[in-house]
């Protein structure tokens, strides 16, 4: 256990939300990925405090749930910015200058991949192929795919995220 005795063992809201979502999926352990996705959609991340409740609902050990949460890149352990921008770093996009694009974006937003901008507007993440390899380089803003991204296009995207 973490030994952080200052925090209550379960933040009620997070545990309640977790229980509700699990129930919606029939408390099926095989639906754990779906449940975690739903949880993240609702809370913005997968809070530690939700895991014991999930484990109980699904009849799994805490370690099993924890193992799944940490295995998959998608699940965030802490809150993200208001928008998440994923930049493709895979080969087709590399051939169209993805590495330079990533550097440009990092300079422009003043964050590295995996970080959130100071104003909390944007979390920048790496992706490995977004399925838009004929229109590289590609980024994804929340659920919206964007192709043929260059500096000008990106600055517009960032401005929209901040508005």
């Amino acid at each position: 256990m973490s030994g952080k005795t200052t925090l209550p063992d379960q933040t009620p809201r997070e545990a309640t939300v977790a229980r509700e979502i699990a129930l919606r999926h029939g408390n099926r352990a095989d639906a754990l990925l779906e449940i975690l996705h739903d949880l993240q959609e609702q809370l913005g991340f997968v809070p530690e405090a939700a895991l014991p409740a999930l484990a109980k609902s699904l009849n799994l050990s805490r370690a099993e749930v924890h193992g799944v949460v940490t295995f998959y890149h998608d699940y965030r352990r802490e809150p993200a910015g208001r928008h998440v921008i994923k930049v493709c770093r895979a080969e087709a996009c590399q051939s169209m200058g993805a590495n330079e694009l990533v550097s440009m974006i990092e300079r422009f937003l003043k964050v590295k991949l995996g970080q959130t901008t100071a104003d909390g507007a944007i979390t920048l993440e790496a992706a490995y192929c977004l399925g838009n390899c004929a229109l590289s380089p590609a980024v994804m803003v929340d659920d919206r795919l964007i192709g043929r991204v260059d500096a000008g296009k990106f600055e517009k995207i960032a401005a929209e995220c901040r508005s």
């Binding site: 699904l58 890149h73 080969e91 087709a92 390899c133 004929a134 043929r148």
Partner: protein, 507 residues
């Protein structure tokens, strides 16, 4: 009021299709959101229905909309003429993608009007073994990468005795440079449903899952819509078309893990667990999902099946060369002028694809390297453009077809950097089960860095080669087992990139 078509495919949307569709609707036109024709370099592609067929304009921007002569389908700077006459489409052999871009993807009546459910209709009247025989006779091999004969896999599941069997579709499409699965799911999802349902009838399964990567939110949404439409029209669910056959289908999202495209890791993931690879045996056909006999196929494998049932295995077998039968939807990607989806019979050369269809590089510079078959595929030098695309020819050349992704690089590419990335990617995505893959890939990155820095170059090149051999021999799955393919092909074909003078390398 004219009827116009604007794709809802996410690649088309990524360059403004929604905005164009909205502008056309605002101008009073009836807008239908079709799938993409796969001429992605022309997206957003707007098609206008006329008595003589569909006239296309593209790539259209919102600013262009006002000037488009929709009512007459007349002359315009962006007019491409009848889309079927466009050489990029006309020169393809579209069996799987025959309907994509023509229909409204989630309309059952559209689907049926264009030959949809003919295959399933036939399968409903056949014994499972007859369906399997048709698929075996087609020569279809798995399109996910390994190229295993689909009919043989199905027969194993058919012959297995169990109270429950499953059909699982691998729609993880993690390979960079590939998007054909996505285009099927967004552009003709009912075809995938039909293919999976035929598989279920063939082997006696009643429950199926489509495992779609989370990077594909549009595909996930459209697939769910299509499942709803298929159920409503009684082509899916209980007592399909009034028969005693039932099949229930569910979409599951991945969670950003490349290794979950490996079939046994996918099964773990579908069971709600960490995506680690299972040792084989047992094979999934005998002990798959929840330990039950399971058919696992790629989207394109299932998508080929409706044609095979409707037209007969022999009709599919007629295409292709050697032991590679039928067609493959190739995906032209990366630094290419005319990127998109090109479905051709096996045997087409890399040159026809990349130069003929693709029109060379996007930048206009000479082609230097082509990565064929995803991140675990080989880098092929421009001197080998005349290779015929079939499983055996590529294997003999130390390369692989994989899922049909073709990523073009121009002369500015640094092949040592590409080799390093292959190792880095393996380190990021390794499931961690075996040491050669988990540790070897991280070591690989370090060794390549040393080579590039000019540190003990010869000794380190040898070390890298040994390391690759260890990964090839000692990995449980093709993640660790094939990462050496891009690495060693880069060294073999582009040794000069690993042997730059130290001063240059330090730049």
């Amino acid at each position: 009021m004219s009827k116009v078509f604007v794709p809802r495919d996410s690649a088309a949307r990524s360059v403004g299709a929604d905005e164009v569709a909205a502008a056309l609707a605002a101008a009073g036109h009836q807008v239908i959101r079709n799938g993409s024709r796969g001429l992605l370099f022309l997206e957003p592609l707007v098609e206008v229905e006329t008595r003589d067929g569909r006239i296309a304009y593209g790539p259209v921007t919102v600013e262009d909309v006002a000037s488009l002569p929709i009512a007459t389908a007349g002359a315009h700077r962006l007019r491409l003429g009848k889309i079927e006459d466009h050489p990029y489409l006309r020169n393809q052999e579209r069996l799987t993608f025959a309907r994509c871009g023509i229909t409204d993807p989630v309309s059952v009546p559209d689907y049926v009007a264009h030959g949809g459910f003919e295959g399933l209709n036939k399968a409903l009247g056949l014994a499972g073994s007859a369906v399997v025989a048709e698929v075996t006779g087609s020569g279809l091999r798995g399109r996910g990468g390994a190229g295993f004969p689909t009919g043989i896999k199905w027969k194993t599941v058919l012959d297995a005795q169990a109270d429950q069997k499953y059909v699982c579709c691998n729609a993880d499409e993690g390979d960079s440079g590939t998007f054909a699965d996505r285009m099927v799911m967004e552009g003709d999802p009912l075809m995938l449903i039909e293919g999976m349902t035929i598989a279920a009838l063939a082997v006696g399964a009643t429950k199926g899952f489509i495992y779609i990567r989370s990077e594909y939110p549009d595909a996930i949404a459209i697939m769910k819509e299509a499942i709803g439409a298929a159920i409503a029209a009684n082509w899916l669910g209980a007592n399909i078309q009034g028969t005693d056959k039932s099949f229930y289908l569910e979409v599951r999202r991945g969670a950003g893990s490349y290794i979950c495209g490996e079939e046994t890791a996918m099964l773990e993931s579908l069971e709600g667990k960490r995506g680690t690879v299972r040792p084989k045996p047992p094979i999934p056909a005998l002990e798959g999902l929840f330990g039950k006999p399971t058919v696992i196929n790629n989207v394109l494998s299932f998508a080929a099946v409706p044609f095979i049932l409707a037209q007969g295995g022999a009709a599919y077998m007629n295409y292709g060369m050697g032991r590679s039968r039928g067609t493959l939807p190739f995906q032209l990607a990366g630094n290419i002028r005319q990127g998109g989806l090109v479905e051709k019979a096996f045997g087409v050369t890399l040159r026809e694809l990349v130069e003929g269809f693709g029109g060379g590089t996007f930048t206009g510079k000479p082609i230097r390297a082509i990565q064929v078959g995803g991140p675990l595929g080989a880098y092929v030098p421009a001197s080998q453009l005349d290779l015929a695309m079939d499983y055996e020819t590529l294997a003999a050349a130390g390369a692989m077809v994989g899922h049909g992704g073709i990523v073009v690089f121009d002369e500015t590419v640094d092949m040592a950097a590409q080799a390093r990335f292959a190792m880095e990617f393996c380190a990021i995505e390794s499931c961690g089960k075996c040491t050669p893959c988990r540790i070897g890939s991280t070591r690989g990155v370090e060794v390549i860095d040393k080579i590039v820095a000019g540190e003990d170059r010869d000794a380190n090149l040898e070390l890298l080669s040994d390391l690759c051999q260890t990964m090839t021999d000692g990995s449980l799955c093709a993640m660790g087992g094939l990462t050496p393919m891009p690495v060693m092909s880069a060294i073999r074909h582009f040794p000069e990139d690993f042997d730059k003078p130290a001063a240059l390398a330090a730049e």
